[in-house]
């Protein structure tokens, strides 16, 4: 039977794969592509902040406090301590993105692991894990983040930690429900019938079908995380001054809202642009990953 040939196979290259198809569909979605460009731009801006920023974001100047947008040497004005807003916004992307993305990434792994385990094993383990997760749902997420940060003390690390804890439950719940649904579909049984081990089934058939929806959901959480992180900083629980971070900048500039409203609104604008870009990116991924569409 094997006479049919390895030669003939030369014409059959390996399948381009799932992700190639996703990339192709994603690249045809103009809104998603714009969002991707913005996000990549923000990330590059954060990484190369020292090269991009026109001046030192920490240098204060009592003479140039609260300059309007377009002032000579201060293209986006100066804040309440006379620091260059443009530079501070550029440097601020570093901490803001870190605070926005890191908790979601960590929560993505932990939450998926918990949810997929609960969903695939089912039974008592599922009940135990998911009811524990439900306890966290009893608290509004903002309150939980504030309570945890408050208890742990202010600081970047504690802020990240509390945000991670906030995002594990929703991701675990999504992972659990998707896994439970996938586990009952016949291809899982078909895989068992063809001799696949439990580990192979989870790795290939469950993960392959479950990771897309969880990933999409998690990218949508990045914008929430960004806003929550900014909120923590605003309340003085996250990043401490004089570090540039958008939420914190919004807080310190709020007294200047009557003097220089446009300058005071700039950090909020950055938060808005970043979070909406992540949301649109997540929407684009959602439709690109749906191979049935």
């Amino acid at each position: 039977m094997t006479a049919v040939s390895i030669e003939k196979l030369a014409t059959v290259e390996k399948s381009p794969g799932y992700w190639a198809g996703v990339a192709r569909r994603f690249s045809r979605d103009p809104v998603a592509m714009i969002a991707l460009v913005v996000v990549v731009g923000l990330i590059l801006m954060a990484i190369f902040a020292p090269l991009v920023a026109p001046s030192d974001p920490y240098r204060t100047s009592m003479l140039r406090r609260l300059r309007p947008i377009g002032t000579e040497g201060f293209p986006l004005g100066a804040d309440e301590l006379g620091r260059d807003m443009l530079s501070r916004l550029i440097y601020g992307a570093r901490l803001s993105l870190l605070m926005g993305v890191t908790p979601v990434v960590i929560a993505f792994f932990i939450g998926s692991a918990i949810g997929i385990t609960a969903g695939y094993v089912g039974g008592r383990l599922n009940t135990a894990l998911m009811r524990t997760i439900d306890v966290f749902f009893a608290f509004p997420s903002v309150l939980l983040a504030i309570a945890l940060s408050g208890a742990l003390g202010a600081g970047i690390f504690n802020g990240l930690l509390s945000l991670t804890v906030v995002f594990i439950p929703p991701i675990a719940r999504i992972a659990e429900s998707v896994t439970t649904a996938v586990r009952r579909i016949e291809y899982v049984e078909a895989a068992r019938a063809s001799g696949a081990s439990a580990f192979t089934i989870v790795r290939v058939h469950v993960l392959g079908n479950v990771i897309g929806p969880i990933f999409v959901y998690a990218t949508g959480l990045i914008s929430v995380s960004l806003i929550l992180a900014s909120g923590l900083s605003f309340l003085g629980l996250g990043v401490k001054p004089p570090e540039p971070e958008w939420g914190l900048m919004l807080n310190t500039l709020r007294n200047a809202i009557y003097v220089q409203p446009w300058v005071a609104a700039l950090p909020g604008l950055m938060i808005f642009i970043t979070s909406i870009s992540f949301n649109l990116l997540s929407d684009g991924l959602r439709s690109a990953m749906d191979i049935k569409a």
Partner: protein, 329 residues
């Protein structure tokens, strides 16, 4: 006959849950190598459960299985670990009812077929792809090279079922289990798939157990037929015997309920009543409450399993007289 390919002896399957279900209650089945057995019965008669037992696919923690299940002499219930993985897909393989659900939507057909080949035969991915291509050619999928790279949703229902068959046969199993493989397909595609299965079964010399609730389908593919009711085999015999001289009242009812003989304007024949709930194990004949020829002895105890001829068995009190009659002749 040497060792039968399948030998199921007094199989009992019980599911524990919120309520206990006695799904299978003492099933005996044998299948010779290269033979096709059609298992006929309505929903809940235990056909699929019996089939899944052969692959040990039932959830272990909620299922209680008693009895002897052997495939080419190997005790299936004793298999574990590597041996069980080899058994599944390598020795015994299964085709499912709905190919849309039984094929994984995020992998191409080629990837799914080659996955099993690599697992069972340790083949390289190139060899496995060559095998996948060969199998797609065998099940007569047009332009198989292209289909290798197609996702299940990109194919039609009949094509998907062909791909499913290719997937099941890729490792050349000795036994193919088909769980209503044509039910989800429309009528014109059904017959093509049936003919293909029959042909491949002969070509590869496999045994096949074909579960269906459609008598026409069972007749089309099978050498022998086993009729199941309430978790028991009530009648077995060759297709010819079952069609020409059904012995069990249930089999007669099934045949009478056939649409083909129906006259326009007349009510369709049906068996009155419904199958019994299987909360408790049957102690008498399960069919007695619906039986048109119920006798006094039917409620007294389990009906005898009467062997009329080799491979021809009926589980009915009335067959007793029949057997004695034919013995006297």
């Amino acid at each position: 006959m040497s060792t039968p390919l399948v030998d199921i002896n007094n199989l009992h399957v019980r599911f524990h849950g919120q309520r206990t279900v006695h799904a299978v209650n003492g099933v005996n089945l044998t299948l010779a190598p290269g033979e096709t057995l059609g298992v006929l019965g309505e929903s809940g008669s235990g056909k699929s459960v019996t089939l899944k037992t052969l692959l040990r696919l039932l959830p272990e923690n909620r299922t209680q299985i008693a009895g002897d299940v052997r495939v080419s002499g190997v005790d299936v219930m004793a298999l574990s670990g590597k041996a069980l993985a080899n058994h599944r897909g390598g020795v015994v393989s299964m085709i499912f009812q709905d190919p849309m659900l039984a094929l994984d939507p995020v992998y191409t057909i080629g990837e799914q077929i080659s996955e099993g080949v690599m697992r069972h035969e340790g083949a390289s991915s190139r060899e496995a792809y060559a095998r996948a291509l060969e199998m797609l050619t065998r099940v007569r999928i047009p332009s198989p090279e292209r289909r290798l790279k197609a996702y299940p949703h990109e194919m039609s229902g009949g094509m998907r079922q062909r791909a499913m068959i290719a997937l099941a046969l890729a490792c050349k199993p000795k036994l193919l289990l088909a769980d209503e493989p044509t039910t989800a397909l429309d009528a014109t595609v059904q017959i093509q798939i049936l003919l293909l299965l029959r042909e491949l079964q002969r070509e590869l010399g496999m045994g096949m157990i074909f579960v269906t609730h459609d008598i026409g389908v069972a007749v089309e593919v099978s050498d022998r037929v086993a009729v199941m009711y309430a978790g028991q085999v009530v009648e077995t015999g060759s297709v010819r015997d079952i069609l020409r001289s059904p012995q069990h009242p249930y089999t007669r009812g099934l045949l009478a309920a056939n649409l083909h003989g129906a006259q326009k304007g007349q009510r369709l024949q049906a068996i009155p009543g419904a199958p019994p709930p299987l909360d408790t194990a049957p102690v008498t004949c399960s069919f007695a409450p619906r039986c048109p020829v119920k006798a006094a002895g039917c409620d007294a105890g389990p009906p005898p399993n009467v062997t009329l001829a080799p491979g021809r068995e009926v589980r009915c009190i009335h067959a007793l007289g029949e057997a004695q009659g034919s013995a006297a002749n």
